[in-house]
């Protein structure tokens, strides 16, 4: 492969994008404007105030012989429809999740919880025989609702654990530590949308690749290029490179625009580098889809229409629209490559995941394998049907 020939073709493709107003709008202005508009529209709105509160639970009593008491407490907590309990192995990880806004509260059950409960059941009326202990409760300082609603519900679950529905005049050996209020980053709706905007912008590369190739084929440009020493491999390499450059440029612009309207991802330079790597890998998939589209399209007009067969599923199932729908991803989401880009960027930007964390690496692996497969299929389809 001759690098000079590849770069000459890349230069030509980039000039085309810059000089053709329709392409410039589609690939650059449109996603940038969308980011700006979404940022302005949703950036000032608070996150969804959930009607269900997520409580992180750290059970230090789990290993003890009387651990059934803490299990009873968890059962009583989860019996309350307003509470969702998420178990953590350490107070540190639970506090981390609370500070990022993933939880509304953290409850730490002490190691002597079971002993305390046993002492109460054995001597319900003899307060001096009780082993007293404290369940520590940390609350989201920024959520007035959480600070007001969660402590009584926790207290109710504790009472149910120890005395059931009976009334208890003498109090309980277990008390709640004064709810420590924790500063929690408030999420805006735009914070949940922003990771999906990167996939949203890159998706339109499918249309641009398909239109470019069908136009060049129809106008005899590909035929003419094929009479030069340029090889088919060099042509494909130039497509990949030029579209990776475009995707990166697009990503940088989207990020800058989001930053300008107040978006602050919860990641550092390495996270950003990983994000751009993911965007580059996704662009390979878009080139593959563009090649398939060009292979089956008889004209540039047809390519525009057919490209939506790839664009729409990726748009609705794998961009910011997925995040807006609420609930977790389902099987359909997992069938589109853009989902893995958005999901990994959400892990990086919203949850502050490390670049080596299993969810990010899994998404990268799936996205890479999928993109390579789609690209190879695209090359084969275009070579067989696209150059006729």
């Amino acid at each position: 492969m001759d690098v000079r020939r590849v770069f000459a073709l890349v230069k030509k493709d980039l000039k085309k994008t810059i000089r053709e107003p329709a392409l410039l709008f589609l690939l650059i202005l449109f996603p940038v404007m969308m980011t700006l508009m979404f940022g302005i529209s949703f950036g000032s709105f608070g996150g969804n105030e959930k009607t269900q509160y997520t409580v992180g639970l750290v059970d230090m009593n789990a290993e003890g012989p009387d651990h059934h008491w803490s299990q009873d407490l968890v059962r009583n907590l989860t019996a309350n429809d307003l509470l969702r309990v998420r178990t953590y192995s350490s107070n540190g990880s639970a506090q981390d999740a609370l500070s990022k806004g993933d939880l509304q509260a953290v409850m730490v059950i002490p190691a002597n919880f079971g002993t305390s409960c046993d002492s109460f059941v054995g001597n319900p009326g003899n307060t001096s025989a009780w082993v007293r202990t404290t369940v520590q409760l940390y609350l989201d300082k920024g959520s007035m609702v959480a600070t007001q609603a969660i402590p009584p519900m926790a207290q109710q679950a504790l009472s149910s654990t120890l005395v059931g529905n009976r009334s208890q005049a003498t109090g309980l050996p277990v008390s709640f530590g004064s709810g420590s209020l924790v500063e929690v980053q408030k999420r805006k709706t735009f914070d949940y949308m922003a990771p999906g905007l990167f996939a949203f912008g890159a998706i339109y590369l499918i249309m641009s690749v398909a239109q470019t190739l069908t136009t060049e084929r129809d106008e005899g440009l590909l035929r003419r290029l094929s009479t030069t020493p340029m090889t088919a491999t060099e042509l494909m390499a130039s497509q990949v490179l030029s579209n990776m450059v475009l995707a990166l440029f697009q990503g940088v612009l989207i990020f800058m625009m989001a930053f300008a309207v107040g978006y602050r991802p919860d990641t550092g330079p390495t996270g950003l580098a990983m994000a751009f790597l993911l965007v580059s890998v996704f662009s390979l998939c878009c080139v593959g889809c563009g090649l398939i589209t060009a292979a089956v399209s008889k004209s540039a007009g047809a390519a525009t229409g057919i490209s939506f067969l790839f664009i729409l599923p990726m748009l609705f199932l794998g961009t910011f629209m997925t995040g807006m729908s609420g609930g977790g991803p389902n099987m359909l989401n997992r069938m589109v490559p853009s989902f893995y880009l958005t999901d990994s960027l959400t892990d990086l930007f919203l949850r502050g995941a490390a670049i080596t964390s299993p969810p990010v690496l899994t998404d990268l692996a799936v996205l890479t394998i999928t993109s390579i497969i789609v690209f190879v299929l695209g090359v084969l389809a275009f070579r067989k049907f696209g150059t006729r």
């Binding site: 001759d2 000079r4 020939r5 770069f7 000459a8 073709l9 230069k11 030509k12 000039k15 085309k16 000089r19 053709e20 106008e219 005899g220 440009l221 035929r223 003419r224 290029l225 094929s226 009479t227 030069t228 020493p229 340029m230 090889t231």
Partner: protein
């Protein structure tokens, strides 16, 4: 003609498109440094033959060698030595004239240090220097033809295929292109030129092959053909051979 002196050899070339036989058992040899004209009306098989020679069509049967290499198996080597100016032009409209030529110079592997000087020289000779910085989409038809010709020749190929390079040009531009093509021949380039302008073939070509219905029906230097058929020009030769004028046939 010995193998050493041959630039192009075609033996028994046949190309069919469904029921239509575009080229029918064509035999032809073009010598090194020769300016060969392939004449005939539209649909006679000229462009199809050129497409086979530059690798755009695979020969169904027959042998085709360009620069000593079989186009069916050694197209990579053939592409290193040819320049093609296709009938449909194939110019990137969003690039300037200079950028189009430089792109093809890069693809042909023209040394970086030589490229600018070579491009400048070619643009100057085709009277396009002043317009070289404009996008090609704003060019006239004649200007596009001239840029297309330069794109084919910037790599200084040893063999060039010029498929109707002067179609749509005004007489003045056409004459300038003729002189340019003659200059290439004088430098030793082998040129295969297709045209349906008989005066172009008379003026430029060492030999012409008149092709009709995919077959060569006459092959000789223009003067020899005119003498043999007692004709005052190639148009009359064509009339005598086919019973129709080339423009009517087109």
């Amino acid at each position: 003609m010995s193998l050493k002196d041959e630039a192009i050899r075609i033996e028994g070339l046949t190309i069919r498109f469904r029921d239509l036989t575009a080229v029918d058992g064509l035999d032809l040899t073009v010598g090194k440094g020769e300016l060969f004209g392939l004449l005939g009306p539209n649909g006679a098989g000229k462009t199809t033959t050129i497409k086979v020679l530059c690798g755009l069509l695979k020969p169904e049967s027959g042998l085709v060698r360009v620069g000593g290499h079989d186009v069916a198996h050694e197209m990579g080597k053939v592409k290193q030595m040819i320049g093609v100016c296709p009938q449909e032009m194939g110019i990137f409209p969003f690039l300037t004239g200079r950028e189009n030529v430089e792109l093809f110079g890069d693809l042909a592997g023209v040394p970086k240090g030589e490229l600018k000087e070579r491009v400048d020289g070619l643009l100057e000779r085709m009277s396009l220097s002043q317009d070289a910085g404009r996008k090609v989409k704003d060019y006239s038809g004649g200007m596009k033809r001239r840029i297309s010709l330069i794109m084919a020749l910037v790599g200084e190929p040893s063999i060039s295929f010029l498929d109707e390079p002067t179609t749509g040009m005004d007489p003045q531009s056409r004459r300038a292109v003729w002189d340019f093509i003659r200059g290439l021949k004088e430098k030793g380039m082998t040129i295969v030129l297709t045209t349906h302008y008989m005066e172009e073939a008379e003026y430029l070509c060492d030999r012409v092959g008149i092709i009709d219905h995919g077959r060569i029906i006459a092959l000789d230097p223009p003067k020899a053909l005119m003498e043999r058929y007692g004709a005052k020009d190639l148009e009359e030769v064509f009339l005598q051979l086919t019973g129709k004028k080339i423009r009517e046939a087109a």
